[in-house]
Symmetry: C2
Subunit: 472 residues, 2 copies
């Protein structure tokens, strides 16, 4: 290994008094070391034990972020960007202490360019807020990871979710970023042109870097015209395999479906309870179609036929906005509905993505694993992309349950890798997938990643302990 990341960076040091004093003087009440505030910033939606930072700065401008970075870099203090707190993989945990940089108050939509179909926002703007603020423009932002995540966080984890099958992920939809480097310089990556061959793709390098290469302080994303017509449908299937096969045929036929979401029988039970619905407790697909009136009708008819050919039953339409909202609301609250299957539990959420030809095998073999487990393990998936999640519901107080969850997770990830897939489709590596990252890419590719990390953050202040396992 040529490019070690020294483990020393992860040995927790007390916050230097000079840093504390400087932040206090500069930010006043917007710098907090109160245990409540620190504790809140040392948690996320992952099952990892909390790790609180030593202090939290609530930044309001790019320049403030740059000042904090310069200070932290000078004193070798860890710096962790914090958005909406919805990470599932421990990204926000201050495993080496340091400063949590809360960007949630940088939440302004800076400029909408309706003619160019793009918008520039501060990183704390959430996706729901964005769509609310631009709804009169006739445009919308499609990326929808379920949680009402911040746009900065969605960049950092290369988020996607429903709609990605049609509109792509954050990778495809970010035009430009403003980024503060580890040493406090402010750079712009990209322009508002749709495409460019001008130099290395710093935008794509920052997207998915999980706060380890820079702090994102502005985001320009593509918008899309609100479709003339939208129609949604649900359909139940006799088995997971048949639902997945219907999806595969839809994709292979090139139907430009906007969403195709898989929800297994257990997740349906959870949703029924949580939302007071009465869907049959069987595997379901949720579809959405975008286009012209005629185009949507044509797509839906094609998909209905494919579903029927695969044993789909009770194909049900939702064309009225309120019916569609109820449907997608049910899908979106699935995560919290599933948590209620086991009161007090945390979910170990797996997140593999495989080539679509292997999806039926992968899901069916996974189902066999899950049937053998004592833990409730509902499955949902953005199956149009070959991506699915198992929420392994565990009691965080019971180490044996966490261990079992990790065993299940490992089997699922190893199966996905063996099938030519990836260890994380959209949640990121965080604290959780470091070893799988090596299995997926190999040591030499990891070495290139570490070389980039060392070049851009030589003092290892940016979100230390994430993505790479340091060398002891």
């Amino acid at each position: 290994m040529n490019q070690p990341l020294p483990h020393a960076a992860l040995v927790r040091q007390p916050l230097p008094v000079a840093v504390r004093d400087a932040l206090q003087a500069r930010f006043g009440e917007r710098f907090s070391t109160s245990p409540g505030v620190c504790d809140h910033h040392g948690r996320d939606e992952s099952p990892f034990p909390p790790a609180a930072p030593d202090g939290v700065v609530f930044a309001h401008t790019t320049e403030e972020v740059a000042e904090v970075a310069r200070l932290c870099n000078e004193h070798r203090v860890p710096l962790i960007a914090y958005g909406a707190g919805s990470s599932l993989e421990g990204h926000l945990l201050a495993v080496a202490g340091g400063i949590s940089l809360d960007l949630s108050e940088m939440n302004k939509v800076l400029s909408v360019q309706p003619e160019d179909l793009n918008v520039t926002v501060q990183p704390g703007v959430t996706r729901k807020q964005l769509n609310q603020e631009i709804k009169d423009s006739g445009l919308f932002f499609p990326i929808d990871p379920g949680a009402d995540a911040s746009l900065g966080g969605m960049c950092a984890t290369r988020a996607s979710g429903t709609n990605a099958v049609r509109y792509g992920t954050m990778r495809e939809n970010v035009l430009a970023l403003t980024v503060v480097t580890a040493d406090g310089r402010i750079i712009k990556t990209g322009t508002h042109a749709r495409k460019s061959s001008a130099g290395y793709d710093l935008t794509r390098l920052m997207i998915g870097s999980e706060g380890t290469l820079g702090i994102i302080t502005e985001v320009t994303v593509r918008l899309y015209p609100q479709p003339e017509a939208i129609s949604a449908a649900i359909c139940s299937f006799p088995s997971m395999g048949s639902a997945v096969r219907a999806t595969i045929e839809t994709i292979q036929l090139g139907v430009p479906v906007a969403r195709v979401e898989f929800v297994d029988a257990l997740a349906i039970r959870a949703i029924n309870r949580h939302d007071n619905l009465s869907m049959p407790e069987a595997p379901h697909l949720f579809f959405e179609f975008h286009g012209t009136e005629a185009g949507v009708k044509e797509q839906a008819e094609t998909v209905q036929q494919i579903a029927a050919d695969n044993g789909g039953q009770g194909f049900e339409w939702a064309t009225r906005p309120e019916d569609r909202s109820r449907l997608w609301n049910a899908r979106h609250t699935a995560y919290f509905a599933m948590l209620q299957l086991k009161p007090g539990c945390k979910a170990v959420t797996t997140d593999v993505c495989v080539p679509i030809s292997r999806l039926a095998d992968c899901v069916t073999e996974t189902e066999r694993d899950l049937n053998a487990s004592s833990l409730p393990c509902p499955i949902v998936g953005h199956v149009g992309d070959g991506n699915f999640h198992v929420a392994i519901l565990t009691d965080p107080e019971k180490p044996e349950e966490l261990a079992e969850a990790e065993t299940i997770n490992r089997r699922i990830v190893e199966r996905a890798l063996a099938m030519g897939g990836t260890c994380t489709g959209e949640h990121g590596v965080g604290l959780h997938k470091m070893d799988f990252l090596v299995s997926e890419h190999g040591e030499d590719a990891l070495d290139l990643m570490r070389a980039i990390k060392n070049a851009l953050d030589p003092n290892h202040i940016l979100n230390p302990g994430k993505i790479f396992r340091p060398v002891r």
Copy 2:
């Protein structure tokens, strides 16, 4: 500047005898130092004076590429990947001598995965060859830069061209690469999963790196189902501005047009002469629509109405494959047709891309510049993306013409940057856009790029002298 690239790397040194002997022994007739072969590999489609390498290796395998890289790295010998030779910006010129690594014999389609809608190829496979070889699969590869470029070269310059408005560029369509690093390691970037959040995006880092960060030896790209229906059309317009406005309205309305190409009156004259056609010598748009029968009809009717509203005349259909081929053949040979407007000339090709809202202004102001020039300057453009090219036809023997071409180019690029655009939409930086790259991104962003270059190629053997202006 923290990350200089030493100018010393560009001082031409003779090829070390040890390297020459080793390549001779290893590659026999597949290593050539003959002046004819070297001269051929020191040229491309750019107007820069040729700069021949000291030798050319015709590689057949990834392992061979790795061997050559290790040898060159050990002896600090420049190494320049060579595909189809169709670069327009001097990428292939051996400005510091060294070895040209010809990958054109690595031209096998390695595996088609029709169920996953992707294909893995060697880097010397050209786009036309690829589409020919997969045509019975019912799939096609849409990226079409005009020239019959190699897939490796198209990755290296982040190519796009017609079709990008619907299907995206190489940035959006490459799933995975095999790359040989400067020190001869072989890495895989990406998997066959559609999306991933597993670590830094090495795939996107290599795409557009112009052979300066690694040598691409395998490429996995997305394929698309051949559309059920295709229809093409041309339409003439009273002015450039009106043609561009029709384009802008089409994009803003969200019509999923597959191609929308602008060709100005002078380029039409060139095409008429070259292809023996008789189109009216006026600005034209060339359209193509992909979809179902009904969908294509609907798109085309919408666009025909938009064209008419903007003064478009003589909207002509081409639905039969042979008519479509003739039409697109005319568009594709436009570059060579334009060169024949001025026998013996070379084209200084500009390649800006602006936000679509600024395209009409940008093209109209550019037209004013060109009218004031004595040089013939036809314009063609992938206007759906905001991207257009001016081919400034110059006599390479007349320095005053080259100087005038550069003056025109500079004005066009500076205007595009002032409008929030990029200095190159799809051709790359090469030897030509180094200073504009700084204007576009700023010194601090360039510094990050140089830091990455230094981290991944510390001896600066990979395509030296391109993208970055070295520090003297």
